[in-house]
C-alpha cells in the first residue's frame, strides 16, 4: 500500500483533469460524483497506508518517482515521504476533504460554475497532498504554492465581484511574502546541509548544538513562510478576506487544511527549530499575540463567517504558541481537532447561509434553532468543542498546549487562558445570535428557510461526531489516557517539552473550564437574556469596541505603510527616475548631438572668404605643430 502512495495525490489530479475538461459538458451529478469519489479513493488508500505503517516497524518510507530538478550538486527528486506525520495528515486531508466534497454537492448545486468548483477543489486536494507527502522542501514548496494558487482561484471563485477578486489577490500576495521567507530558508538549508532532502538534513542537524546562528536564521525564515500560510501576525489579514470564497472552501482550505500547512511544516522541521530556542520564543510570542488579537477582533464581528475566520486565526495562534513552547504534539493534536470542529463550524455556517439565501450578517439572523435542527445541534457541538469544554475534542488539544505554555512561562499562560475565555465568549455569542431569539430578517425570507439537503447534513453529523470524540487520540496521562498521538508521532518529533505534573495539570484544566463556563454564561446573559443585537455598522461604539470592530485598522495601516508608499515609489521611479533621468540622459545625448549639428552647420556659412580663412587657420596650426615638433 505504501508503495502506492503516489496514487493518493494522482487520483485527485485525475479528478481535476476530468472535471476541468468536462466542466461544461458533464452533468452536475456526474461531476459531483467524480469529484467526491476520487477523494474517497484517496482516502481509502490513505487509510490503508495508515494501517500498514502502523504495523510496519520502519516508520519512514521514501517513495522515489523521478528526478525533477538537478543542477550541479543540487538534486531534487520528486519523491514522497510516508511517515506517521504525513500519514495522519493524509487522513485528515482526504477524510475531511471528502466530507466537504459531499457537502459541496448540495451547497453549490445551483451555481453555474459547478464543474469548475469541483475541479478546483480536486486540484487543491492534490496540491495539499503534495505538500504533505513531499520528501524534501522543494516538493513541499510545490504543494505550498499550489494550495496558495487554489486558494486564489477559490477565493476569487465569484470573480465578477471585484472585491472578491481583490481578496483572492491579497491572499496570494500575502502568501507570497511568506513564501519568499520559506524559499530563502530553503536556500540557507541547501548551503548549510548541501541538500534539501529531509532524510539528509535532519540527521545532520541532530548532531548540531542549539544556538547555531545559521540554524536560527533558517528557522526564522521558515517561520516567516509559515506566518504567511497560516495567517499569523503580521500576515494574517488575508484570511478573513478569504471568506469571500464559497463556504466549503472556507471550511476546507481556510480552516481545516491549508492554513495548518505552516504548523505541519514547523512540526516537520522540529529538529531545526529545537536548535533555535530564540526563534521558538519568537514563535510563541507571535502565536500568542495572534491568538489574542484575532480573538478580540472576533468579539465584535457581525458576519458569521468573519467570526469563524478570526477564530481560525486565533486557534492557529494557539497552535503556534504550542510550537513555540516545544509542544509539537499538542500543536499537531490541535491541528487535528481543529480540522474537525472548525470544518464543522464553517459547514454549519454554510448551511445557515444556504438556508438564508446567502445572508451572512448575524444581525439578520436569529431563532433558527427550530428551523434548522440538524445544523443547530451540530453547530452546538462544534462550538462547545472549540470553546474547550470536556469531553469534546477541543478541550484536550487546547489544554495540552496551555499546560506546556504554563511550564514555559506563566504570564504567557495567563494571556493564553484569557484568550480561551474570549473564544468561548465570541463563539457562543455567534451561536446565540444565530439560533436563539427571534428571526430578524424579513418575513418573506423567513418562510423560505428550510433545513439543508442530506448531502449537506450528513457531513455535518459525521464531523460533529468527530469533533465530539476526536479528543480520544490524545487523552493525557493525567486523565489516564496514554496519548496515542504522541506515541504515533514519536519517530518524527524528536524532543517533546516536559509536561507539568498531574496536580498542576488538573488545576490548569479547572481554571480553563471554569473560565470558559463563566464566559458562556456572560454571553448567555448578554445575548439571550438581554437580547442584545450588535449595532449597525455606522453606530457609535466605545473606543475599544471600535478598534475591535475595525480589526485594529490593520488593513488601513498596511495600506498606508506599504501599498501607498510602494505605489508612490513606483510612480516616482517611472516618471522621474526612468523617464527623466535614465531615459533623459539617453535622450539628452541625442538632443545634444542634434543641437551640435544645428550649431556646427552654421559654420558652413556659404562664404568663401570664411572657408579660406578656416583653411588658413588649419594650415597655420599644422605649421605651428611642425615648428614645435622639430
Amino acid at each position: 500500500m505504501i508503495n502506492l502512495v503516489w496514487l493518493v495525490p494522482l487520483i485527485p489530479l485525475l479528478g481535476f483533469v476530468i472535471n476541468g475538461l468536462g466542466r461544461n459538458t458533464l452533468s452536475k451529478n456526474l461531476i459531483g460524483f467524480i469529484g467526491s469519489s476520487v477523494i474517497f479513493i484517496s482516502f481509502a488508500i490513505s487509510v490503508g497506508i495508515f494501517f500498514e505503517l502502523g504495523a510496519d516497524a520502519n516508520k519512514s518510507h521514501e517513495i522515489f518517482l523521478f528526478d525533477w530538478i538537478s543542477a550541479g550538486k543540487l538534486s531534487i527528486p520528486l519523491s514522497f515521504l510516508v511517515d506517521p506525520l504525513s500519514s495522519i495528515m493524509l487522513l485528515i486531508i482526504t477524510g475531511v476533504g471528502f466530507l466537504i466534497h459531499i457537502y459541496s454537492i448540495g451547497y453549490m448545486h445551483s451555481d453555474e460554475a459547478f464543474g469548475k468548483f469541483f475541479s478546483y477543489l480536486n486540484l487543491f486536494i492534490f496540491f495539499m497532498l503534495l505538500l504533505v507527502l513531499g520528501s524534501n522542501y522543494i516538493v513541499m514548496f510545490i504543494g505550498w504554492e499550489g494550495v496558495g494558487l487554489c486558494s486564489y482561484l477559490l477565493i476569487g471563485f465569484w470573480y465578477t465581484n471585484s472585491s472578491y477578486a481583490s481578496a483572492a489577490k491579497k491572499a496570494f500576495i500575502m502568501n507570497r511574502i511568506g513564501d519568499l521567507g520559506f524559499l530563502l530558508g530553503v536556500f540557507f538549508i541547501f548551503t548549510t546541509f548541501g541538500s534539501v532532502e529531509f532524510s539528509k538534513i535532519f540527521p545532520q542537524a541532530a548532531n548540531m548544538l542549539p544556538g547555531n546562528g545559521t540554524i536560527a536564521l533558517i528557522a526564522l525564515l521558515l517561520f516567516i513562510g509559515a506566518c504567511g500560510k497560516s495567517a499569523q501576525l503580521p500576515l494574517f489579514t488575508w484570511l478573513p478576506d478569504a471568506m469571500a470564497g464559497p463556504t466549503p472552501v472556507s471550511a476546507l482550505i481556510h480552516a481545516a487544511t491549508m492554513v495548518t500547512a505552516g504548523i505541519y511544516m514547523i512540526a516537520r522541521s522540529n529538529v531545526l527549530f529545537d536548535l533555535a530556542p530564540m526563534i521558538q520564543h519568537i514563535i510563541a510570542i507571535v502565536g500568542l499575540a495572534t491568538a489574542i488579537v484575532a480573538a478580540i477582533i472576533a468579539l465584535t464581528q457581525t458576519d458569521i463567517k468573519k467570526v469563524l475566520a478570526y477564530s481560525t486565526v486565533s486557534q492557529l495562534g494557539y497552535m503556534f504558541l504550542g510550537l513555540g513552547v516545544g509542544a509539537y504534539n499538542g500543536a499537531f493534536f490541535h491541528v487535528i481537532t481543529h480540522a474537525f470542529f472548525k470544518a464543522l463550524l464553517f459547514l454549519c455556517a454554510g448551511s445557515v447561509i444556504h438556508a438564508l439565501h446567502h445572508e451572512q450578517d448575524m444581525r439578520h439572523m436569529g431563532g433558527l434553532r427550530k428551523k434548522l435542527p440538524v445544523t443547530f445541534w451540530t453547530m452546538l457541538i462544534g462550538t462547545i468543542a472549540i470553546a474547550g469544554l470536556p469531553p469534546f475534542s477541543g478541550f484536550f488539544s487546547k489544554d495540552e498546549i496551555l499546560a506546556h505554555v504554563y511550564m514555559h512561562d506563566k504570564v504567557m499562560w495567563a494571556i493564553a487562558v484569557f484568550g480561551a475565555f474570549l473564544t468561548a465568549f465570541y463563539m457562543f455569542r455567534m451561536l446565540f445570535l444565530t439560533f436563539y431569539g427571534k428571526y430578524r430578517g424579513t418575513h418573506h425570507a423567513e418562510e423560505k428557510i428550510h433545513e439543508s439537503p442530506k448531502s449537506m447534513t450528513i457531513p455535518l453529523i459525521v464531523l460533529a461526531v468527530l469533533s465530539a470524540i476526536g479528543g480520544i487520540i490524545g487523552i493525557p496521562e493525567a486523565l489516564h489516557g496514554n496519548h496515542w498521538l504522541s506515541h504515533w508521532l514519536a519517530p518524527v518529533i524528536k524532543h517533546t517539552a516536559e509536561a507539568p505534573d498531574h496536580a498542576t495539570e488538573y488545576a490548569l484544566m479547572a481554571v480553563s473550564v471554569v473560565g470558559v463556563l463563566v464566559s458562556i454564561a456572560f454571553a448567555y446573559v448578554k445575548y439571550i437574556k438581554q437580547n442584545h443585537v450588535p449595532i449597525p455598522d455606522e453606530g457609535k461604539r466605545s473606543a475599544l469596541a471600535n478598534l475591535s470592530y475595525n480589526k485594529f485598522y490593520f488593513d488601513e495601516i498596511y495600506d498606508l505603510l506599504i501599498r501607498k508608499p510602494l505605489d508612490a515609489l513606483s510612480t516616482f521611479f517611472y516618471k522621474i527616475i526612468d523617464n527623466k533621468i535614465v531615459d533623459g540622459i539617453v535622450n539628452g545625448l541625442g538632443w545634444s548631438t542634434s543641437e551640435a549639428s544645428k550649431g556646427l552647420r552654421l559654420v558652413q556659412s556659404g562664404n568663401v572668404g570664411f572657408y579660406i580663412f578656416m583653411m588658413v587657420v588649419g594650415i597655420i596650426s599644422l605649421l605651428l605643430y611642425t615648428y614645435l615638433s622639430l
Binding site: I69, L74, Y159, F573
Partner: protein, 488 residues
C-alpha cells in the same frame, strides 16, 4: 550530420527569400518554413548527445584573409537557444495569422530573416560570425517594428536601433582586440578561450562585451529603449524582441564573456550583479503602476531578465542552468503574455488596463490560458517559470546572500503586478467595452494551447532541458574557474 546544421541555419534564409516573393499566401509559406525548421530542430535534438562537446560542427573557410571562418556548431547551451528560437518562431508566425498586415510577404520574410540571424548567433563558434548574426538579427526587427508599429514608431525604433547598435559596435571593438591578441589571427572561439590576457585587458574586454549584452537584454540602466519599443512594436515584433532577441544578450554573456574574460568577470561581475538586481527590483516596482498592459509586461521582462543576468554572473551551476531554463521559459511566457494582450488589443483596440475588465466572463478559455501564462510568469511551482527562477535564485543566493534576498523580492513583486493586471483586465464586471468580447478561436487557440502546454510540461518535467545543457554548463564553469585558479 554537417548538412543538418547548415540546413538548420539556412532554411529560414531560403524561407525568407521564398516568402518575400509570394503574395498573399506569404503567411502560409512562412509557417511551413518555420515548422520545417522546428522539425529539423527536433531531429537535431534527437541526434544530440548531451555531453559537453560541440556537435554538428561545420567549419568552412569564409574570409580567409581575415581569419574568418564559417564555424558553427551546437553544444548544450546552443541547443537550448536554438530550440527556443525554432519553437517560438512558428508560434509567433501563427500568432500573426489573424492580423492583416500590409505587404505581409515582406513582414513574414523579415521574421524568417531574423530567425536566420538568431540561429547564426546561437550556433556561431567564430566571433565574427557571431557578430554578423548579431546584426543580421537586428536589421529585420528594426524594419518590422518601424514599418508595422504604432504611432510613435519612428522615433522609438530609431532610439532602439542606435542604442543596441552602439553596444554591438563596442563589442566589435572587443572582438577585434581579441583577434589581434590571438596569435593564430582568427576568430575561433576556442582560440579566444585560450588567450592569456592580463586582468586589465580582461577588464576592457569585459566592458566592451558587457555593454553590448546589457543593452540587448536589457539590464538597468541600459533599458530605456525597451518599454517604448515593446509598446510601439507590432505584437509579433514585440514577441521576437522579448521572446528571443533578448536571449542573444544572455547567450552572449555565457558563450563569449564568461570564458573569454573570466578575470574581468571576477573583477566586475559584482557590478553586473548589482545592476541586474537593481533592475529586478526597480523594474518590478515600476511595473506596479503601469497603465498600459504592454508596457507593464515590458517592465516585467526587464525584471525577469535582470534575474537571469544576475544568475549568470553568479557563476555557478545552479545559476547557469537556471538561466538556460529561464531563457526558454521566459521566451514562452512572454510570448504568451504579449499574444494575449494582442488578442485583447485586436478586439478592444486598447491595452489600457483601466479601460478593460470582466473579460473572463466573456472569454473563459482566454481567461484560463491567460491565467496559466501569468502563473508561469510569477513562477508558480509546477510551471516552467519556477524551475528557472528557483535555480536562478539559488544560484544568486550562493553568490551573495543579499543578492538572493533582493532578487527574491521579484517573487512577491511579480505576483503583485501580474495579478493586479490579471484582475483588472480579466476579472470584475464586464463594462461597455468588454461586453462585446469574443472568446479565442482558430489559430489563437492553437497558439495559446501550445504555450500553456509548454508551460506546464516544462514545469513538471524539466529534466530533458536541464539534461541538454548540463554537461556544457558544467564544463564552462569548470573552464572559467580553472582559468581563475591558474591565475591566482
Amino acid at each position: 550530420m554537417e548538412q543538418l546544421l547548415l540546413l538548420l541555419i539556412f532554411l529560414p534564409l531560403v524561407g525568407a527569400v521564398v516568402t518575400a516573393f509570394t503574395g498573399s499566401a506569404a503567411k502560409h509559406v512562412a509557417l511551413v518554413s518555420a515548422i520545417l525548421s522546428l522539425a529539423l530542430t527536433l531531429i537535431t535534438v534527437c541526434n544530440f548527445t548531451p555531453d559537453a562537446s560541440t556537435q554538428f560542427a561545420v567549419n568552412y573557410p569564409w574570409i580567409q584573409d581575415l581569419g574568418i571562418n564559417f564555424h558553427a556548431g551546437i553544444d548544450g547551451i546552443s541547443m537550448i537557444t536554438v530550440l527556443l528560437t525554432n519553437v517560438l518562431v512558428p508560434i509567433i508566425i501563427l500568432s500573426a495569422y489573424q492580423h492583416d498586415y500590409k505587404n505581409s510577404n515582406a513582414f513574414f520574410a523579415l521574421i524568417l530573416f531574423m530567425q536566420f540571424g538568431l540561429l547564426l548567433v546561437f550556433t556561431a563558434m567564430d566571433a565574427f560570425l557571431f557578430y554578423i548574426g548579431w546584426e543580421a538579427a537586428l536589421i529585420p526587427i528594426y524594419f518590422i517594428c518601424a514599418i508595422w508599429g504604432g504611432k510613435d514608431r519612428i522615433r522609438v525604433n530609431m532610439k532602439f536601433f542606435v542604442y543596441t547598435i552602439a553596444g554591438s559596435l563596442f563589442m566589435l571593438l572587443g572582438i577585434i582586440y581579441l583577434y589581434l591578441q590571438n596569435p593564430a589571427h582568427n576568430f575561433d572561439i576556442q582560440a579566444f578561450y585560450n588567450l592569456n590576457l592580463d586582468s586589465v585587458q580582461q577588464s576592457w574586454i569585459f566592458w566592451a562585451f558587457f555593454i553590448a549584452f546589457a543593452i540587448k537584454m536589457p539590464v538597468f540602466p541600459f533599458h530605456t529603449w525597451q518599454p517604448d519599443t515593446y509598446t510601439e512594436a507590432p505584437t509579433p515584433g514585440t514577441m521576437l524582441l522579448s521572446g528571443i532577441m533578448l536571449k542573444m544578450g544572455i547567450y552572449g554573456v555565457i558563450r563569449w564573456l564568461l570564458p573569454v574574460a573570466p578575470e574581468g568577470v571576477q573583477q566586475w561581475g559584482n557590478v553586473a550583479v548589482i545592476l541586474s538586481i537593481i533592475g529586478v527590483v526597480y523594474a518590478s516596482i515600476i511595473a506596479f503602476t503601469q497603465k498600459d498592459a504592454k508596457r507593464l509586461v515590458a517592465y516585467s521582462s526587464i525584471a525577469h531578465v535582470g534575474l537571469i543576468s544576475a544568475g549568470i554572473f553568479a557563476l555557478n551551476t545552479q545559476g547557469m542552468q537556471g538561466a538556460m531554463v529561464q531563457m526558454l521559459s521566459h521566451g514562452i511566457n512572454v510570448v504568451g503574455l504579449f499574444f494575449v494582450l494582442d488578442i485583447i488589443a485586436r478586439r478592444m483596440k486598447t491595452n489600457k488596463i483601466a479601460e478593460l475588465g470582466g473579460i473572463a466572463k466573456q472569454a473563459p478559455q482566454l481567461a484560463i490560458a491567460f491565467l496559466i501564462i501569468v502563473l508561469g510568469t510569477v513562477a508558480l511551482p509546477g510551471t516552467n517559470g519556477f524551475i528557472g527562477e528557483f535555480l536562478l535564485l539559488i544560484g544568486v543566493y550562493q553568490y551573495k546572500v543579499w543578492a538572493g534576498v533582493f532578487a527574491g523580492l521579484s517573487i512577491i513583486f511579480g505576483a503583485v503586478y501580474m495579478f493586479r493586471m490579471y484582475q483588472n483586465i480579466m476579472l470584475g464586471k464586464t463594462n461597455d467595452l468588454t461586453i462585446g468580447f469574443t472568446d479565442i478561436k482558430g489559430s489563437e487557440k492553437v497558439v495559446l494551447y501550445v504555450i500553456c502546454a509548454l508551460i506546464i510540461v516544462l514545469g513538471v518535467y524539466p529534466k530533458p532541458i536541464l539534461h541538454l545543457s548540463e554537461a556544457s554548463v558544467q564544463q564552462l564553469i569548470e573552464q572559467v574557474t580553472q582559468k581563475l585558479t591558474s591565475v591566482n
